[in-house]
């Protein structure tokens, strides 16, 4: 049996429809050239099923097999992993730069110059221990020292409070994104097999997964039904199909850190990267560490100055009392709260015990020793002076910030490379689409021409029959 002209017409019609659909795909790609997360689509055309003929087998035209999105699971996972690190470095570098700005000491300002001024005021008093003006200067410097310690401490605590808010907001964002992913899971499972629509939904879900990766560490995999399961790398579940496990944040106070909870379980320690991890690490490890260093310094100054002060005599010839209000720690083995508690016990300049015992009002025997405390190794297990401990604190802040800033810079470069790699696969190229349009347009025109030819042949046949 030889093929009929009408069958040829059908083949041309189907071919035109296929080219039309291909043009639609190209047009959709062009429309989404700047859509974040959009993966370009391609139409897969396959030859129609062959039709048996008497001697030969002619093809049955073309048919659309599928419309696919270009996605690479490997690259999607790599991007997700690196986004988590980028999110962590971004959060920590931003928070630490706030801390850094609090400790940008110059020659005339900053805690170090105030500490120096305090001990130098003792040294000045040693020149004329009976001078009331110099005694008042000692009290003013001591007052300023306490104020500076409190201000630095409270400034660090205010950074922690900002981080607390950011942690709560981030957890809220995580929950919101997780809920959206769960909704998309449902849509994808429902649309399974409906080709283009499913691809678009997957693109949208991948964008959300990328957003989630920036916020917290996640591992994800796709189930056979098309839904994704997302959990933290340490196993705290976030999304399973259409279900989410919302995370909560326990309220923080000045002395207690916020905890991230999932289903009533504390998962804070399980969060290892992403913005949330960066915020938690800066708050709980780094800033808390700086606060501890300030507390240790303040406690050492209070304790050592008081210990020396009681060994002298004041202007009235009476034994010296405490210079600072003694600090009693409420937490064994810790100096928590010392920096906030640094206050003067002596308010009358005459009660500064500058003199040695029984040595008279002009003696500087004790005040000279008070001045010398600045050079005594009374911190870090009696290995560091107060200045060295403060320099160490400043160095630690600079080093931590540098690590975060450098880490972010490296991560940004890595992310650019990865995103470029992914875009090389999924991104839309206008030139390619122009070529595709040209191709499909020509094919469409050719098939239209075939219809025209068949039409004229049919016309000729009709005339022959009619003639």
């Amino acid at each position: 049996m030889s093929p009929s002209l009408f069958a040829s017409l059908g083949i041309a019609r189907d071919a035109m429809a296929a080219q039309q659909l291909a043009l639609d795909v190209a047009q959709n790609n062009i429309a989404n050239v700047n859509t974040p997360g959009y993966a370009r689509q391609r139409i897969n055309l396959v030859p129609g099923d062959p039709v048996a003929q008497e001697m030969y087998q002619a093809g049955a035209g073309v048919k659309v097999d599928s419309i696919d999105s270009y996605r690479s699971r490997f690259l999607d996972h790599r991007v997700s992993e690196e986004l988590q690190r980028q999110g962590e470095f971004s959060a920590s570098s931003s928070a630490l730069q706030q801390v850094e700005s609090l400790f940008n000491d110059t020659a005339d300002s900053g805690l170090q110059s105030v500490i120096a001024a305090f001990f130098h005021s003792f040294s000045s008093l040693a020149n004329a221990p009976e001078d009331v003006t110099l005694r008042q200067q000692v009290l003013a410097c001591a007052e300023n020292l306490g104020t500076q310690f409190r201000q630095k401490y409270e400034a660090l605590q205010s950074v922690q409070r900002l981080l607390d808010r950011d942690i709560a907001d981030t957890v809220a964002d995580i929950n919101s994104i997780a809920a959206n992913i769960a909704s998309l899971n449902v849509e994808i499972i429902t649309a399974n097999g409906s080709q283009a629509n499913e691809g678009t939904l997957r693109d949208r879900r991948q964008v959300l997964i990328d957003q989630l990766a920036e916020l917290t560490d996640i591992a994800f995999y796709e189930t056979e039904s098309g839904g994704v399961t997302i959990m933290s790398r340490q196993g705290a579940t976030l999304v399973v199909g259409n279900q989410t496990t919302p995370w909560q944040v326990s309220a923080a106070t000045d002395d207690t850190a916020p905890r991230v909870m999932a289903g009533g379980i504390d998962i804070t320690a399980k969060i290892q990267s992403g913005k949330l991890s960066g915020l938690l690490k800066v708050r709980d490890d780094q800033v808390t560490g700086y606060l501890n260093m300030l507390d240790d310094m303040a406690a050492a100054i209070i304790g050592r100055v008081n210990a020396q002060h009681v060994q002298g005599e004041d202007m009235n010839g009476a034994p010296g009392g405490d210079f600072f209000v003694p600090f009693a720690s409420t937490v064994p083995g810790s100096n928590l709260g010392a920096a906030r508690a640094m206050r003067l016990a002596v308010t009358d300049p005459a009660l500064i015990a500058a003199a040695g015992v029984g040595a008279g009002v002009g003696s500087n025997a004790n005040v000279r020793k008070l001045a010398g405390i600045q050079d005594e190794p009374i911190l870090s297990g009696n290995r560091a002076t107060i200045d060295q401990a403060y320099t160490n604190l400043i160095y630690n802040i600079g080093r931590d910030t540098k690590n975060a800033v450098d880490g972010l810079e490296t991560q940004n470069l890595l992310m650019t490379q990865l995103q470029n790699q992914r875009d090389a696969l999924i991104g839309v190229s206008l030139d390619e689409e122009a070529v595709n349009i040209l191709r499909y347009q020509k094919a469409y025109q050719a098939n239209a021409r075939i219809i025209s030819v068949i039409d004229s042949l049919t016309e000729e046949m009709i005339q022959l029959v009619g003639g």
Partner: protein
């Protein structure tokens, strides 16, 4: 690698961001003259700058101590010099009075002169600087000596104040009067008493004590002189230290301006080039040629 418009724009954006950061950094260096504006740019340099600032502040304090105590010691030295001269004058007057040819009237005149000189010595021994009696030990708020009749009594103590004028470098700020001036008052009062009574033997005995008294004063002057020398030496050393620290501060903290300006120009040129190149992205594609 397949290239898309989004890749080209991302690379452009990254380059522009990086060049803008370089431009800002170079511009900050040129305008501030400082190598680093933020601690994280060089944490160890930041820590070193703090240490250097701390050392400079210590040097300032040592300078202040040296100025303050130096003035005190100079007054002490000058007072001791005056005391030495007056005691020498008393000795001269006493020697003249002790010569056998003096009439009663002239001996009385010598006695009056010696008394007057003794009173000057008493006044000098109670020299006050900024409200502090310099020979009173640490009992600086009361005169070092009191006089009842002709009896002169030391009411200070022997405490000496040490002042730090450098790292591990100290001077004694004060000179308690008792060991240095008591022998002098004893000698002068013995001589005065002997001249007034016309007792030649007592006069000779009193004059014999003067060499010891003068020697004691000279020893005190020598000790004070050593401390003044220490202060001068320390000032010189401090000046050198300060220069070293400031040089180091400059090396650690100051920007190399010519290098910073070159970097600024390079960053500007690179940024312009990147922007010019970027403006070409997407300007032409195949659609321009499809009819």
């Amino acid at each position: 690698m397949r290239t898309t418009e989004s890749i080209s724009y991302r690379i452009l954006l990254d380059n522009v961001r990086m060049l803008n950061a370089q431009l800002a950094r170079a511009s900050e260096q040129v305008s501030s003259g400082k190598k680093y504006s933020h601690l994280h740019e060089a944490p160890s340099h930041g820590a070193e700058m703090l240490e250097l600032q701390d050392q400079l502040a210590d040097l300032d304090q040592y300078q202040s101590n040296a100025d303050s105590t130096g003035f005190f010691i100079k007054v002490t030295e000058s007072t001791l010099g005056s005391i030495y001269n007056i005691v020498s004058a008393v000795f001269t007057q006493g020697s003249s009075a002790a010569s056998g040819s003096n009439s009663e009237t002239s001996r009385a005149a010598f006695a009056s002169e010696i008394r007057s000189l003794r009173d000057q010595l008493f006044s000098l021994a109670n020299t006050e600087v900024n409200g502090r009696y310099i020979f009173a030990g640490s009992l600086v708020t009361q005169p070092a000596y009191v006089m009842e009749g002709d009896a002169i009594t030391y009411q200070g103590n022997t405490e000496m104040n040490t002042i730090d004028i450098g790292a591990s470098l100290q001077v004694q700020q004060n000179l308690p009067g008792s060991p240095a001036l008591d022998p002098m008052f004893a000698s002068v009062n013995s001589l005065l008493s002997a001249v007034e009574s016309g007792d030649q033997t007592a006069m000779q005995a009193a004059l014999g004590q003067f060499s010891g008294a003068l020697s004691t004063i000279n020893q005190a002057r020598a000790r004070v002189g050593v401390d003044l020398g220490k202060i001068e030496d320390a000032e010189f050393a401090r000046g050198q230290q300060q220069t070293y620290i400031e040089t180091r501060q400059s090396a650690v903290g100051d920007a190399d301006l010519s290098e910073a300006i070159v970097k600024l120009n390079q960053a500007q040129a690179a940024l312009e080039a990147a922007l010019t190149t970027g403006s070409l992205i997407g300007q032409k594609n195949l659609f321009d040629y499809i009819g």
